[in-house]
Amino acid sequence: MINTFVSSIFMENMLFSYFLGMCSFLAVSKNVKTATGLGLAVAFVLTCTVPINYLLENYVLKPGALSWLGQSFETIDLSFLSFIIFIAIIASFTQIIEMVVDKYFPSLNASLGIFLPLIAVNCAIMGGSLFMQQKEFPHVGVAISYGLGSGIGWLLAIVGMAAIREKLQYSDIPKPLKGLGIAFIITALMGFGFMSFSGIRI
């Protein structure tokens, strides 16, 4: 469990080894404060949706997963529905969070509000669920630690990137490379940095 947690933060960082959530990463990493806000929101949604989808996958979608309903359900295979179910869970979950935050934590909503709807189409969230499906975790605890770890990894990446880009305003970059070009190169260099963690085992 701890191994999954650590490796999903560093070795299998969503951003640097799979490029998931790249769009919002590049669009929002212009200053540290908003980046932290989006990072926290993504981490939270990942921690919740990965276990929910894990339970759905194992008790509804997998071939034979419906056997708890009775003998005659054992042969049913709903796995082709998994994409639609996962995205529906993610979209409705972000909607619910938005409503809850709006009702009970209006101050948090003011700072996070604009990012919450964006999260439904953030590749990192969907990617988390799809990797969970592929990795076949033994129980739901591992799924939770995977979701949390990936979320923290994403948060670290976007905050680091935002800090670098804030400093970058003062540096002298070739003109055609400014903006998007240099952002790509920095992401690549940070990716190399995170790669040095690979091989660590706990």
Partner: protein, 200 residues
């Protein structure tokens, strides 16, 4: 007619979804370490964008504005499921290599972006052309990146060895760095650099 042509050609170069609009970088770069999966990914995405554009454009007058995101997600998810099943049936090896990235077409910003920006306000035929144009613009970048990464990283194209053994004997070695994911970013940065310095 001129508009249709413009709709088709502008996303391929001038308004390229990846290098200019900055969309859809998410799901694709990890698949470009070889040429073959990059091409398959490009085709899959083109098909999904084109057909989801058509379907949404046909439905555009009947969908209530408030639930349109959910409707879009369902249309896209259904199409991606079809593509995934087709890949599993006819190109199993490639589908294994692409693994989760086929599923990630659902959340690919190009698809959602084109649905929101174009299909909601246009007739089916222009929407189809727009979808194909954007899909191809995306596929071209993937193919360029895949080409360089496979050629320099493994010395082969489509799995066939291109660089002759003679050159290896002279001391040439494959650049293992090209296989690592971050190199895809650097190649794209170079493409952006060239494109921007050409335009200005």
């Amino acid at each position: 007619m001129k508009d249709i042509k413009e709709t088709f050609s502008s996303p391929i170069n001038k308004n390229n979804p990846i290098t200019v609009q900055m969309l859809g970088i998410c799901s694709a770069l990890a698949v470009t370490s070889k040429l073959e999966p990059s091409i398959v990914m490009g085709i899959a995405l083109t098909a999904v964008v084109a057909f989801s554009n058509v379907i949404l454009s046909l439905l555009r007058n009947t969908i209530p504005n408030r639930i349109r995101i959910i409707v879009q997600l369902v249309i896209v998810a259904a199409l991606v499921t079809i593509v995934n099943e087709i890949l599993k049936a006819y190109a199993y090896d490639v589908s294994k290599q692409l693994s989760v990235f086929v599923g990630l077409i659902i959340t690919n910003c190009i698809v959602m972006g084109r649905l929101e920006a174009f299909a909601l306000g246009n007739k089916p035929w222009p929407a189809f052309v727009d979808g194909v144009g954007n899909g191809l613009g995306y596929a071209i970048i993937l193919v360029i990146v895949g080409f360089f990464r496979e050629l320099l990283g493994s010395g082969s194209l489509f799995g066939f060895q291109i660089i002759p053994n003679k050159i290896y004997e002279w001391g040439y070695e494959n650049n293992g760095l090209m296989i690592l994911p971050p190199m895809a970013m650097i190649i794209i940065a170079c493409i952006i650099w060239i494109q921007k310095s050409k335009q200005s």
